[in-house]
C-alpha cells in the first residue's frame, strides 16, 4: 500500500488530499473538502498533466512566437517538450492556432501558435 499527499489547486483552500493506492489503483481519497478535490487528486496520482507554454524564435523578428500545447501533456515529458522546442525557429506568416510541432514527444498533442505573425512585407 502507498499513500500520497496532493495539494489541491482548485481553490485557495489548498486542501491536503491524502490518496491511498494499492498496486497502482486508488483505494481511498481523504482530506478533500469538495468533489473537485477528489477528482483532481485521483488524476494527479495516476498521471499528472500540465499545459506547457513557451516561445520560439521567428525568423527576421525580435518578437518571438508564443506557443502552447493544445492540451495538457504528462508532467514527466515537460523537459523533453522544452528541449524539442528549443531547437526550433519558425517563418512568418503564422496564424494563431496553427500547428508548430505535431504530436510533440509522442504525446499525441500538438504544439500550436498562440498569436498570429504577419508575413514580412518586402
Amino acid at each position: 500500500m502507498e499513500e500520497r499527499i496532493i495539494t489541491c489547486i482548485n481553490c485557495p483552500m489548498g486542501c491536503r488530499v491524502t490518496v491511498r493506492l494499492e498496486n497502482g489503483t486508488v483505494t481511498q481519497v481523504s482530506g478533500n473538502t469538495c468533489k473537485r478535490g477528489e477528482s483532481y487528486a485521483r488524476q494527479e496520482v495516476v498521471e499528472p498533466l500540465r499545459m506547457v507554454t513557451a516561445v520560439v524564435p521567428v525568423e527576421g523578428s525580435v518578437l518571438p512566437l508564443s506557443v502552447k500545447t493544445a492540451a495538457p501533456i504528462p508532467k514527466a515529458l515537460i523537459a523533453d517538450c522544452m528541449r524539442c522546442l528549443s531547437g526550433l525557429s519558425v517563418q512568418p506568416p503564422i496564424a494563431a492556432g496553427s500547428v508548430v510541432v505535431a504530436n510533440i514527444c509522442g504525446t499525441g498533442v500538438d504544439v500550436i501558435a498562440t498569436r498570429s505573425v504577419a508575413a514580412v512585407s518586402a
Binding site: V55, P64, M82, R83, S86
Partner: protein
C-alpha cells in the same frame, strides 16, 4: 601612447580641470578607472552648493568653497546644467547648538560668505512650517544652492571633449613612473607617456601621490555616506536645504530638495576600508531615518524611489591638498577633495589651470569652442514647445520613460553626446530615464534596445553600469544549450 597633459580621474574636479585646460594648446587625455565619468563621489553626494561657513577660516577648503559657490550660478548657466539657489538652514535644538550656530555664523563672516543671518524659532517655523517645533534657532545661508552633480560632470566632460580632450574610460592606473622627459602611467590598456601629470583621482588620490613622489605622505580615509531618495510626486516638505549642526565626521544629516524636485535624506558618515564599497546597510539607512526625524518629525520613506551611498575621500589632515606636487616637476594634484569638493570644483579648476598654464608656459588656443547647453528637457517644455520638438524630430513623440517623461530622441541624444552614455545607468544619469517611481521597470528593456541599436552591440553585451554588470546573461537558445551540456 603619448599626450602632453594626462589627468587621472574623470570626476567633477578632473572634468572641470580638463575643460579649463582645453583653452590651451596642449594634447590632453583623461584616464578614468570606471566605465563612465562621474562614477565615484561625483555621482553620489548631497548635490549641495555649500555657502562656505563650514570650513575653517584660512583653510584651503574655505578658500575654494567660497569662490566656487560664487562661480556656480553663471557656471551652470553657461553649461546648461540645472542649478537652483534655495538657501540653507542649519538648525539648533539646544543651547550648545546655539553656540555652534553662532560660531558658524562668525566663521562664515570670516570666510567672506554673504547672506548669513541667525533666525529665531518663529521665523524658522514661518519659513519652513514642517520643521520640528523644538527648534531653537538656525543659521540661514541664502547663497546655498542645489546642483545635479553628475549632470554637471557630464556637461564639463562634453565641453572638454568638443575642445579636443580625449577620455579613456575603463582604464585604471596600476603604476606611475617618473621619466626624464615627464611621466609614464601604466594601465591594463597600455602605457601613457606625458609631460604633465595631474592627479584628480578622488579616493585613489593619496595612492597616486605616493606613487608620484615615492613618499607615503598622504592617507585617504574612505568615509561612506548613505542616503534615501524620495519620489517627486509628493509636494516638497522644505524649500531650503535643512542641515543639523555639524559633527567632527561631517556636516551632519540633511533633508534637502534636489534640483529635480525629489527629496534627499542623509548622509551617514562611516569610515570603511574598501573605497569601492558603496553598499547600503540596514543600520545605516535606519540611522539616516532616525536622524532626519529631528529635523522633520513626520519623515517616512513610503515614497522612497531608491537608496544609495557614496564615498568621500577624506584626507587624514582634514584639508584639501591642491597645487604643484612638492619635489616633482610637471606634476599637479588635488588630493582629499571631499565635501565641499563639488562646490569647490569650478574654483579649483580655474585656479589650478591658470597655475599650470603659467608654470608650463601653455599658450591659449584661438579656437576654443563655447559650451553648447543641452536642449530643454521634454518634460520641462510648454505644450507648444513639445509640439515643435515633435515636428522637428518625431522620436520626441515616443516616450520611453513614463515616470520621468523622457523621449526616445533624448535617449538617443544622450548616447550620441561627446562623452556619451554606454550603459543603462549612463542613460539614466544623463536623461533621468529610470529614475522615477518604477525604477526602470518599464523603460530599462526599451533603453537597452536603443543602446543596442546605437552602439551596434548585441543585447547580451549591454551592461547596467560597465564592467561585468551584464543586463542579461544569454539568449534563450544559449541558455537551453548551456543547461543541456551540464
Amino acid at each position: 601612447m603619448q599626450t602632453d597633459i594626462l589627468i587621472i580621474g574623470a570626476g567633477v574636479v578632473g572634468c572641470a580641470l580638463a575643460r579649463d585646460l582645453s583653452r590651451y594648446t596642449a594634447g590632453i587625455t583623461v584616464l578614468e578607472a570606471a566605465a563612465d565619468v562621474a562614477e565615484g563621489a561625483s555621482k553620489a553626494n548631497s548635490g549641495i552648493v555649500h555657502a562656505g561657513f563650514d570650513a575653517h577660516a584660512g583653510s584651503v577648503k574655505a578658500h575654494y568653497n567660497v569662490r566656487g559657490a560664487e562661480m556656480y550660478p553663471s557656471y551652470c548657466a553657461e553649461l546648461g546644467v540645472p542649478y537652483r539657489q534655495n538657501g540653507a538652514l542649519v538648525l539648533a535644538f539646544s543651547p550648545e547648538d546655539r553656540s555652534t550656530i553662532e560660531a558658524l555664523y562668525r566663521q562664515g563672516l570670516d570666510n567672506g560668505v554673504k547672506g548669513l543671518r541667525i533666525l529665531e524659532r518663529d521665523e524658522i517655523l514661518t519659513l519652513e512650517p514642517l520643521t520640528n517645533a523644538q527648534v531653537v534657532c538656525a543659521l540661514l545661508a541664502e547663497t546655498s544652492g542645489l546642483v545635479s552633480p553628475y549632470e554637471l560632470t557630464f556637461a564639463l566632460a562634453d565641453h572638454a571633449a568638443v575642445n579636443g580632450v580625449q577620455f579613456q574610460l575603463d582604464t585604471p592606473v596600476t603604476a606611475v613612473r617618473r621619466e626624464d622627459s615627464g611621466w609614464t602611467v601604466a594601465t591594463p590598456r597600455g602605457e601613457w607617456h606625458c609631460r604633465i601629470l595631474i592627479n584628480c583621482a578622488g579616493a585613489s588620490s593619496a595612492w597616486i601621490h605616493n606613487q608620484m613622489t615615492g613618499r607615503e605622505e598622504h592617507h585617504i580615509v574612505n568615509r561612506r555616506g548613505q542616503y534615501w531618495i524620495l519620489d517627486h510626486a509628493s509636494p516638497l516638505p522644505f524649500r531650503h536645504t535643512m542641515f543639523q549642526c555639524p559633527t567632527k565626521m561631517g556636516k551632519g544629516v540633511l533633508v534637502a530638495p534636489t534640483v529635480h524636485g525629489n527629496v534627499l535624506l542623509g548622509p551617514t558618515a562611516e569610515d570603511i576600508d574598501d573605497p569601492l564599497d558603496t553598499a547600503t546597510t540596514a543600520q545605516g539607512l535606519d540611522d539616516v531615518l532616525q536622524a532626519c526625524r529631528l529635523t522633520w518629525p513626520q519623515v517616512n520613506v513610503r515614497t522612497a524611489v531608491t537608496n544609495f551611498s557614496g564615498i568621500r575621500a577624506h584626507e587624514e589632515k582634514g584639508d584639501f591638498i591642491i597645487g604643484a606636487v612638492q619635489g616633482c616637476k610637471h606634476a599637479y594634484e588635488t588630493v582629499g577633495v571631499e565635501s565641499p569638493g563639488l562646490t569647490s570644483a569650478p574654483a579649483i579648476a580655474a585656479e589650478l589651470s591658470a597655475l599650470i598654464a603659467a608654470a608650463e608656459e601653455l599658450a591659449k588656443k584661438d579656437s576654443w569652442v563655447q559650451a553648447k547647453p543641452l536642449p530643454k528637457p521634454f518634460n520641462e517644455m510648454t505644450p507648444q514647445e513639445q509640439a515643435a520638438a515633435c515636428a522637428q524630430d518625431p522620436l520626441n513623440g515616443r516616450l520611453i520613460c513614463r515616470c520621468e517623461v523622457v523621449t526616445e530622441a533624448e535617449i538617443r541624444r544622450a548616447i550620441r553626446r561627446p562623452v556619451g552614455a554606454r550603459s543603462i545607468d549612463g542613460v539614466k544619469r544623463r536623461t533621468r530615464a529610470g529614475m522615477g517611481r518604477c525604477q526602470g521597470g518599464f523603460c530599462a528593456p526599451r533603453v537597452a534596445e536603443i543602446l543596442s541599436e546605437e552602439l551596434q552591440l548585441p543585447m547580451t553585451q549591454l551592461t547596467k553600469n560597465g564592467g561585468d554588470s551584464l543586463l542579461v546573461t544569454s539568449t534563450l537558445v544559449q541558455a537551453m544549450k548551456e543547461a543541456q551540456t551540464k
